[in-house]
Amino acid sequence: MHIFLHYVLLVVGSALVNNFVLHRFLGICPFLGVSKSTDTAVGMGMAVIFVMTLASFVVWLINYYLLLPYGLVYLQTIVFILVIASLVQLVEMIIQRVSPPLYQALGIYLPLITTNCAVLGVAILNIQLKYDLLEACVFALGASVGFGLALVIFSGMRENLELSDVPGAFKGTPIALITAGILSLAFMGFSGLVK
């Protein structure tokens, strides 16, 4: 029971309290880029959940079984990026085969997951926070679910903004950033929830 609660808190913590987009401000590019329609946002969220969890898993293994034993921790960033890039490529191929509509919808943003700093961020945080393999995966899952959640909520709001009478100067990205800011303020309410 206690162990289970630990993992629940880990998910809640990474998804809500320290939401990657709204609290750590990681992954802002896809957050703004793929949030114009809810359908694409859901697809992107799924893709990110998959990539982030998988990447955390692989990267953790590489870190502890390859880099650490050989004292090559200084190569962390470059190796991580290499692995993540390959993973994204792999996911892209699979999606293209399995779900062409999703592939079309995600368009340029699928390759962009590569440069989604949230993916690298979660991998590095896993190492910094000294999580074990399971914790790392759970943390990544929570973080990516949080990312997806923020993305989907935000896409709903942006669809509505399209029908709003926003002053010319604020149309598009400016109003999206303001909205993200207020959303981020609202999510501050969760602070202190998980120590």
């Binding site: 590489i62 390859l66 190796v79 390959s86 368009g107």
Partner: protein, 326 residues
């Protein structure tokens, strides 16, 4: 140092291996047509077409026949080949611009009733056929301005739209949007237009608008080029842009001032040392503006010349030039 090389190389190799296997396992056969189109496209992936790279654009072109050929980097020949590959007609007409065919401003054409509702011409047209006294005139609520993707049409103070010729791309969005069919596309260089589309009889027209065409036929009769014709639909005469020489006689003769010319052409003069006195120009000039003795040097009477340019085209010696030109 060496282990670093090995590790990165090894990881890279492994990744490449996995990707290689995946590429084979999850290979997606592209549409052969798509591949052909893709070959013809520049392959620069510049994104100017609005798609994520040439491959996505090729996909869209093949899948959706309505996709406009929006690539800016292909030459005309390639565009033609792509179009024929896709089995569609390529629009080869010259550049067009929108032309608004109504001059019935707020002051010259009144209202039948006071309209309450959305400020959209199409919506206003649904209420008792539009509030304007003239059933054919511009409603002036600016739907054309709202739909223009290029910001090339603006509502003037008189309640009529004005086309910004430099910005207009001739896309035709406003033409489709206008509920009264007032806007049409004309070649960019054809700039004489009768700005009225009313099918009303002269009597009705006089009651509805101070300026609309009353079908008096003066313009038809005055045109030296037979460029103005009457259709049998009861509407205003139509100017054939191919025949029109922009002499603007019709503009001057119209009692309602509803024929408009954008740019009056330059008058002509004769370059004396090239003129051989063949008299062709004298014979073709519809305005009797050229005079002279055969074998002598002809001169242009600038008061009479209207810049139609017939003589310029006919002169065998290229001795006639526009006034502004060297």
């Amino acid at each position: 140092m060496l282990d670093a090389v090995f590790v990165i190389g090894g990881v890279g190799f492994l990744a490449a291996l996995v990707l290689g296997i995946a590429a084979v396992t999850f290979a997606v056969k592209p549409d052969p047509k798509e591949a052909e189109v893709l070959d013809l496209l520049p392959g620069a992936n510049c994104g100017a077409c609005g798609y994520a790279g040439c491959a996505a654009f090729a996909h869209a072109l093949v899948q959706d026949p309505d996709t406009p050929m929006a690539c800016t980097a292909v030459d005309a020949d390639t565009a033609q080949r792509i179009s024929s590959l896709l089995g569609r007609e390529l629009d080869v007409a010259g550049p067009m611009v929108a032309s608004v065919r109504c001059m019935g401003s707020k002051d010259s054409a009144g209202s039948r009733f006071s309209y309450v509702g959305p400020m959209d011409c199409r919506a206003a047209q649904l209420v008792a056929g539009g509030y304007k006294a003239c059933g054919y005139g511009c409603l002036g609520l600016g739907t054309c301005e709202a739909v223009c993707p290029f910001d090339a049409i603006h509502m003037g103070a008189d309640g009529l739209p004005e086309v910004v010729l430099e910005r207009c791309t001739g896309c035709g969005t406003c033409v489709d949007a206008c509920p009264r069919g007032i806007i049409r596309l004309v070649p960019k260089d054809a700039l004489v237009e009768l700005r009225c589309v009313s099918l009303d009889s002269p009597k009705v027209m006089k009651g509805a608008c101070d300026i609309g065409c009353i079908k008096c036929m003066l313009c038809v009769n005055v045109c030296p080029f037979d460029a103005i014709d009457v259709l049998d639909n009861g509407g205003p005469p139509v100017i054939d842009q191919d025949k029109c020489h922009r002499c603007s006689l019709c503009v001057d003769v119209c009692p309602r001032g509803v024929i408009d010319i954008y740019r009056v052409p330059q008058k002509v003069r004769i370059v004396e040392d090239r003129c051989i006195g063949c008299s062709i120009c004298d014979q073709v000039c519809p305005f009797d503006a050229i005079s002279g003795e055969p074998k002598g040097v002809y001169v242009v009477d600038l008061d009479r010349c209207r810049g139609c340019g017939l003589c310029v085209d006919k002169c065998p010696k290229d001795a006639i030039v526009r006034v502004g030109d060297a």
